[in-house]
Amino acid sequence: MKPTNIKDPEFFHRVVDCQYACPAHTPVPEYIRLIAAGRYTDAYMINWESNVFPGVLGRTCDRPCEPACRRGRVEAEPVAICRLKRVAADNKSDISGRLPKVPSRKNGKRIALVGAGPASLTVARDLLPLGYAIDLYDEQAKGGGFMRSQIPSFRLPEQVLDEEVGYILGMGVVTHFNHYVDSLKGLLAKGYDAVFVGSGAPRGRDLPKLPGRQDADASIHIGIDWLASVAFEHIKDIPKRVIVLGGGNTAMDCCRTARRLGGEEVKVIVRSPFADMKASPWEKEDAIHEDIPIIDNHVPLEFVVEGGKLVGMKFDRVEARYDADGKRSLVSTGAEPVFYPCDTVLMAIGQENAFPWIERDIDIEFDQWEMPAVDRITFQSSNPRVFFGGDAAFGPENIITAVAHGHQVAVSIDLFCRGEKVAERPLPGTTLISQKMGIHEWSYDSQIDTDARYKVPHADKAAALSDRRVEVELGFDVATGYKEAERCLNCDVQTVFAESLCIECDACVDICPTDCINFIANDEEESLRQALRMPALNLDQPLYVSAALKTARVMVKDEDMCLHCGLCAERCPTSAWDMQKFLYQVTKAAPIL
């Protein structure tokens, strides 16, 4: 193998598993260390710079960082990254003085944002400090988009959302709430320099052809619309017996909301096997904890209507079969259909994009699925003045993905408005700094605690079920937050190797607790991975290979299991190993902190 180019910002970025997995690449270990140090406001601001909604995300994020967390590879469970983010949000002090300054003198460019969800708000936040004038349009009365209409308040209290939406609106966004944009052509005609479409994926899927659908219409609701009606208090109760169709997080939000609005017998009935459900494992756990059975492998057959009234649903029992490629098909077991009585049905079986308000003669190409052609890097559509992001760009994802899109869109719009090429992206910012303070002293806490993951305490179940506004998760207290933060392995503190200093004494090989380090004859990657002291079987993790040493061998380190404990550097007599903190910052349109 060729020597690893550690100057490539992506090499060490890959080693910081949580940050790499995060769509917005939030510097996770950096803020976790600040939480451990009690510097909650600083930790919050690092989050705010990167993911814009730390308080919201600390409660509701899909947390792609946690399955990626290195801790989960050396023990059972990853660091509770998401809930630590909430610790920073819960304990911070007033941040108003730390918000970016917005120039009173504008740069003369006007930008329209359609939809007031996380993608649009991120674009607004990133562009306002540069002097752009921002007009924000949304059909709802308040900002937040699906964060407000779809996430129930027992998971996300309204004041948390209001606060974080407010920081951005307070920077000088001109809001046009209760304003449904019904024509993009009309909007473009207002002379905006660029228009951003962040209108989400607003259409919930239906089962229009299922027998009884029309007759039972009064008792059937589309999940996301129903959740929005609850959030805006158009709906305040629900009959006692409820069936929720679907296996995603929206289904979990629907069933748990139904329990709080008077649903006594609430069931989730899903086509797929339990393990294949799209809902996050913790969402499923929380639903089951609230006495909601999840009945899997049941495909809807019919809405049963008697006397003009919905009385239940019939389902076919199926089993999942997987072909050689792992593709799943649900095959009927041939058993008698099952009947489940109910008074109402909530359908949470997916959602899709819909752009009835975008004319087809304004140079925006749409594909066969009625999705706009959007560049995956620049988020520009075929009409150079129009950009898409969030769920509106490539279909339903999640908040953190929408935020990540928003940052890139802001970069694109800024380049576009300055007349530069949007495809030429500025590089991310990186720093790599030694953490050595002296003998046995590092400027990070390199000792590794063996504590298992701490559980987040929950509110009393009866109290939570009696009021949809009572937040179920209480968050870590400061003491538990500290202990959980100490579980972080500091994967951003990198082991950096200097060939010229190495005397090949093997001290690092002998001390490494996880046998990551090897001095070995060089070879092709495939053979090298097998030849290591512990074969490097996780192909997602890179090998760190040095140039040839004096003995003609090379140092090969499998980054997969490195604990970043620093003992290699500690035991190195010549400081050929050093622990250096790598900070990777996604390019933003304007510096925020």
């Binding site: 590879r73 050396v74 023990e75 046995h440 002293e441 590092w442 390199s446 000792q447 590794i448 063996t450 005397i503 090949e504 004494c505 093997d506 001290a507 090989v509 002998d510 001390i511 607790p513 996880t514 046998d515 990551c516 512990m534 074969p535 079987l537 004096k550 003995t551 299991m561 604990l563 404990c565 620093g566 003992l567 500690e570 035991r571 190195c572 007599p573 010549t574």
Partner: protein, 349 residues
């Protein structure tokens, strides 16, 4: 202060026949200087005991005084240990071995502990063919007292801030060969591929198994003028040949390479395969002595298995002692009474 080794290990760590991983053979964290060769020797002992699936409670680690003699703390934390008096490790090992012949005795010593203050003890344990592994971690200096030249420092070798050594060096392998050791090897702490099989062979050997391991002192004797620094040893070492150790439990497996030129079956049935050039038998003591001397004359360091006598008679055999450990004897056997003593005395009259 970060000096605590994390408890986490690689989740795919292999297990041996006892179900143990290498972690079960580890000891306390080393307090030696960073980069000390002795730590690599400790790691090699851990690896050898793990691979041989030795039950840790069957091992007794015995040492004298010095940096080397501290190391038994850093390996086999679940085994027995005795950190004895300077240069007196062989006496303690002899006593322990005579009392309990069923243990595996691993003596760790240094060039000071063996070639200076303990030379007399070393000589007699060797010539008695005491059944033990005797490892010298040889760095050519007294590291614990700031790096004075030791008795194994070569003529002209200079340590940090030192003058070239004017005295003739004691070659411990040559000495062991002359004194009748029945397994003699030399190795280098920086070459575990060679050292681990040598230790495994020594553990399986019945009799006095001596390994002189050149183990650089990074702090005082890793200079360009030293003949026991990492760089010098790497540039000047030559191996007698590659060696595979095939334990008795594994009948025929593919874990050694074919093409060996010599095969030695040890007392316990395990086999050593040697891939050696030249016609000299590894069972030829004189040839071994010649080879050591010849390499030294050419300024080279000969490493590998130099000599083995698989048919050696260890001390218990020579003395005709009881076949079990003394602790397993009943009081009647251990203290047969005054009549028995009288009978013995009478037999001499």
């Amino acid at each position: 202060m970060t000096y605590i080794r994390p408890q986490f290990r690689h989740p795919n760590l292999p297990t041996n026949e006892l179900g143990f991983t290498r972690q079960h053979y580890e000891g306390a964290l080393s307090t030696l200087c960073a980069g000390c060769g002795h730590d690599s020797v400790s790691a090699a002992i851990i690896e050898a005991c793990f691979e041989l699936a030795i039950e840790p409670h069957r091992v007794a680690k015995i040492s004298g005084i010095g940096c080397s003699s501290k190391t038994p703390t850093y390996f086999l934390g679940n085994s027995h240990g005795f950190n004895s008096v300077h240069g007196r490790m062989p006496s303690v090992a002899t006593g322990a071995n005579l009392a309990n012949r069923e243990m595996i005795y691993v003596g760790v010593s240094g060039d000071g502990d063996t070639a200076s203050i303990g030379l007399g003890q070393f000589a007699h344990a060797t010539r008695r063919n005491l059944n033990m592994v005797y490892i010298v971690e040889n760095n050519g200096c007294y590291g614990l007292t700031k790096g004075q030249d030791s008795a194994t420092a070569d003529v002209g070798s200079a340590s940090k801030k030192g003058d070239p050594n004017p005295y003739e060096a004691i070659d411990l392998c040559a000495l062991a060969l002359q004194l009748g050791a029945t397994y003699v090897a030399r190795s280098f702490s920086g070459d575990k591929a060679q050292l681990v099989p040598l230790i495994k062979g020594a553990l399986a050997h019945s009799g006095f198994a001596f390994i002189d391991v050149i183990s650089p002192c990074v702090t005082f004797n890793d200079t360009p003028q030293s003949t026991k620094g990492y760089e010098f040893v790497r540039e000047h070492m030559e191996a007698t040949g590659k060696m595979d150790f095939v334990p008795v439990r594994k009948e025929i497996t593919a874990d050694y390479e074919p093409g060996y030129t010599q095969e030695v079956t040890l007392h316990d049935g395990s086999v050593i395969h040697l891939y050696k050039e030249g016609a000299d038998s590894v069972r030829d003591r004189d040839a071994a002595l010649r080879a050591v001397r010849e390499h030294k004359r050419r300024g080279r360091i000969l490493t590998g298995l130099l000599y083995v006598n698989p048919d050696s008679q260890e001390l218990h055999h020579i003395l005709g002692t009881v076949k079990t450990a003394l602790r397993d004897l009943g009081e009647a056997d251990l203290c047969p009474g005054s009549q028995a003593l009288t009978n013995i005395n009478n037999s001499f009259r």
